[in-house]
């Protein structure tokens, strides 16, 4: 995880995000766009829900036999002339990339979009080693210019408006004529493409992530909409794939099933524009391809999720549908999470990566509305897993004291029905007298968390149970 993680400051981050007018404008776009497009794509495919079941089953089967599939995958990569490196930690992953770069005297590295590279903080490490990392996905390129982390796992610059991007290009691209029109997205794309073309050609090494790694063939698959991934992995002499363990699937057929739910869930496309398969380095007679092909398999806490409360999270195929449908993400955007992975999937995964002490805010910041689970293409029970983190927090006495006392106080009564009925009846009658004339409270002691933002209705007076008892002469 990068050193900039601020997950423990979620509340402060969220406060800043809510005051940020440009961000709020950009977030409207998330609300408006992704949801509709996914819904339409799903409506066009009657078997979509059956495909989700199948996708879940494929991933569950793979996770149950992960060791076997990893071995089979490695054997196939090696047979195709590639190399497999295992990285237990983020630092191991970085060190392997740096070693490969140093040994080859690399000066410039092009990168396809990779969340794993973000997770291990690869760009910062490359820069520190005097190597120039060049992001080639348009969104990643933009946030790299701005020195920002991605705010969304598939749309890294979704927090920005096109005017902000035009400004960034004018600042960073020194040869750009001042009168060039950059008011339309396509003009921004053309401008970035012009700059990136030269960089593709001069890169020594290309680093990509992987959406799937196929055990049957030793193939890595990436999906993109810009084709930048192809240029990243074909043009340089060395292609490094960096992927986490759970990206393995048994067969090409399995991968194609997962692809059917991936793009539909992510962007509402039937398929991404490019689905690129690479198997080993260039063979004799191949028209193009790298001379060397390396795969770095990152664990970074994942193997410890196997067999536990959080194993289901390893099914995640990184479509982003959970955040696209999350009211909290819509309100505060991805940066507020202070983690590489935002939204509901990030709220579950982050504490696994950085610990519940640092990351515990995130699984708490959910209304449990369940929309994330309802749209997840691999049916991950995200709210349940966020609740598991809250349980861990509670067990370890990490939850805030006020919350613990509040819940403890309430539970004391909830566990004693007779006392509860008596005391609530008195309290509600009193509150009714106090606020009944107006019907609500604009402020109430101990309820500031509520009344700061909204009025609190006054109770109607005696409780239902006391009225029922009076009416029927008994309680039962």
């Amino acid at each position: 995880m990068t050193g900039t993680a601020t997950a423990s400051h979620f509340k402060q981050n969220a406060h800043a995000a809510l005051q940020d007018a440009a961000l709020q404008k950009a977030l409207q776009h998330v609300r408006a766009n992704f949801i509709d497009k996914r819904a339409k794509a799903v409506a066009r495919l009657p078997e979509f829900d059956a495909l989700r079941d199948s996708a879940r089953d494929i991933k569950d089967h793979t996770l149950a036999n992960l060791d076997l599939y990893l071995e089979a995958y490695e054997a196939k990569v090696v047979a195709a002339g590639g190399h497999v490196h295992y990285a237990m930690t983020a630092k191991d992953g970085v060190d392997i990339v740096l070693k490969l770069c140093r040994e080859r005297g690399a000066k410039a590295v092009t990168k396809g979009k990779s969340m794993i590279a973000e997770e291990i903080g690869l760009n910062a490490a490359l820069e520190a080693a005097g190597i120039d990392p060049i992001e080639t996905d348009l969104g990643e390129y933009i946030i790299q210019l701005r020195g920002e982390p991605p705010s969304h796992i598939i749309a890294p610059a979704v927090h920005l408006n096109k005017e902000q991007v035009a400004e960034d290009f004018r600042r960073a691209h020194r040869d750009l004529p001042g009168d060039r029109d950059l008011s339309q997205p396509v003009q921004l794309l053309t401008e970035a493409r012009g700059i990136l073309r030269d960089k593709f050609l001069s890169a020594d090494i290309g680093v990509t992530g992987a959406n799937f790694l196929i055990a049957e063939t030793g193939t890595s698959i990436i999906v993109t909409n810009e084709g930048n991934g192809d240029l990243t992995q074909i043009l340089p002499k060395v292609h490094i794939v960096i992927a986490s363990l759970e990206k393995i699937v048994p067969t090409l057929e399995d991968a194609s099933q997962l692809l059917r739910v991936l793009a539909r869930s992510a962007t509402g496309q039937d398929m991404s524009v490019y689905t690129t398969l690479s198997t080993g380095p260039r063979r004799p007679g191949d028209p193009d391809g790298p001379e060397e092909y390396h795969v770095i398999l990152l664990d970074n806490g994942r193997s410890s999720m196997l067999g536990g409360d959080f194993e289901d999270m390893l099914r995640c195929i990184r479509c982003g549908a959970c955040m696209n449908h999350c009211p909290v993400y819509h309100a505060v955007g991805g940066h507020a999470y202070g983690s590489v992975y935002p939204g509901p999937m990030g709220a579950v995964l982050t504490p696994s990566l950085i610990g519940v002490k640092e990351g515990g805010q995130l699984p708490n910041a959910s209304t449990f509305c369940g929309r994330c689970e309802a749209v997840c293409p691999v049916r991950i029970p995200l709210p349940n897993m966020m609740r598991h983190w809250r349980e861990r927090e509670f067990e370890r006495h990490l939850s805030p004291a006020a919350m613990r006392y509040g819940i403890g106080f309430w539970a004391y009564f909830a566990k004693r029905p007779a006392l509860y009925r008596l005391s609530t009846n008195i309290a509600m009658r009193a509150l009714h007298l106090f606020g009944g004339a107006k019907g609500r409270f604009a402020w109430l002691p101990f309820a500031g968390g509520w009344t700061r933002y909204r009025d609190l209705p006054a109770p109607q007076g005696a409780t239902f149970q006391s009225r029922w008892r009076a009416k029927s002469g008994r309680l039962n």
Partner: protein, 275 residues
């Protein structure tokens, strides 16, 4: 299991009235008993005998705060309290979802209790879906003049599939016109303790909701969960709106003489209660 029970009732109208335990929910019990009485009326009109065992809360605040031990204790208490009832019905999708979906999960791995929790869960229902799906109620005899917007509360919608049932029964209310509410299935930002723990975010979410409510033009907002209703009513009132907010059961039962949620009796009288 639910299917068997369903056939039982639907095909044996002459049978002794079924014994429904009303799980009134702590919010209704404390804040708005009139919803509880509306639920009783709807159930009795449909031929049920309603019982109200001594009760407190479904345990959700503890459950969602990670306090599993307290939750289990409360769950055991509820399972025992409603043992004699054929069904347990709550005027809340959230609390019914807790009883029907989360109690079994709570005791998974404890064979003896899991059996009890599963049997209990199978007889728990949200009020409106119970009326329609189990009791086969197709219409109500109530009158309510004007347009209403309906918000789908999250747990009812996504855990229990409560969507068409309230719309079906509302369509039978004389004088009532249901208008489209944009984003009706989007969370209102309540989320139980979330509303207080993350008040500022909750506020931003409910502000989206109220702007959709206001855009619908309906003078009345209905939903099936008092927590969500209090959140939306509280925000609307803070914004100076006079949209009346009520539980769907109040309208279905024709019991709208109480002031709307958070409204004063004086305001209700001067506005002329729409019934």
């Amino acid at each position: 299991m639910k299917d068997l029970a369903l056939i039982d009732i639907a095909q044996n109208p002459g049978r002794a009235p079924i014994r429904v335990g009303l799980f009134v929910t702590c919010l209704v019990d404390l804040m708005r008993p009139s919803i509880g009485f509306a639920a009783v009326k709807l159930l009795e009109d449909a031929g049920c005998r309603v019982h109200v065992p001594s009760q407190t809360c479904c345990g959700q605040p503890a459950y969602n705060s990670g306090d599993r031990a307290a939750t289990k204790q409360i769950a055991r208490q509820n399972i025992a309290a409603f043992e004699d009832c054929d069904y347990v019905v709550a005027p809340s999708g959230s609390c019914a979802g807790m009883l029907a979906k989360h109690y079994p999960e709570l005791f998974a791995g404890e064979p003896e209790l899991a059996g009890k929790a599963n049997a209990f869960a199978a007889k728990c229902f949200e009020l409106v879906s119970f009326l329609v799906d189990v009791l086969k109620v197709t219409k109500v005899s109530a009158r309510f003049e004007g347009e209403v917007a309906y918000h789908d509360s999250c747990s009812g919608l996504r855990e229990l599939g409560v969507f068409s049932q309230p719309r079906q029964l509302l369509a039978s209310v004389e004088g009532l016109r249901l208008v489209e509410l944009n984003g009706a299935d989007v969370c209102c930002g309540f989320g139980g303790t979330f509303a207080v723990k993350y008040g500022e975010i909750s506020d931003a979410i409910v502000a989206q909701k109220t702007s959709n409510i206001l855009a619908s033009g309906a003078p009345t907002l209905l939903a099936g969960d008092l927590g969500c209703l209090m959140n939306m009513a509280g925000k609307l009132q803070r914004q100076g709106s006079d949209v009346a907010v009520r539980h769907v059961a109040e309208v279905l039962a024709g019991m709208t003489e109480e002031p709307a949620i958070g409204a004063s009796r004086a305001a209700a009288l001067s506005a002329g209660a729409p019934n």
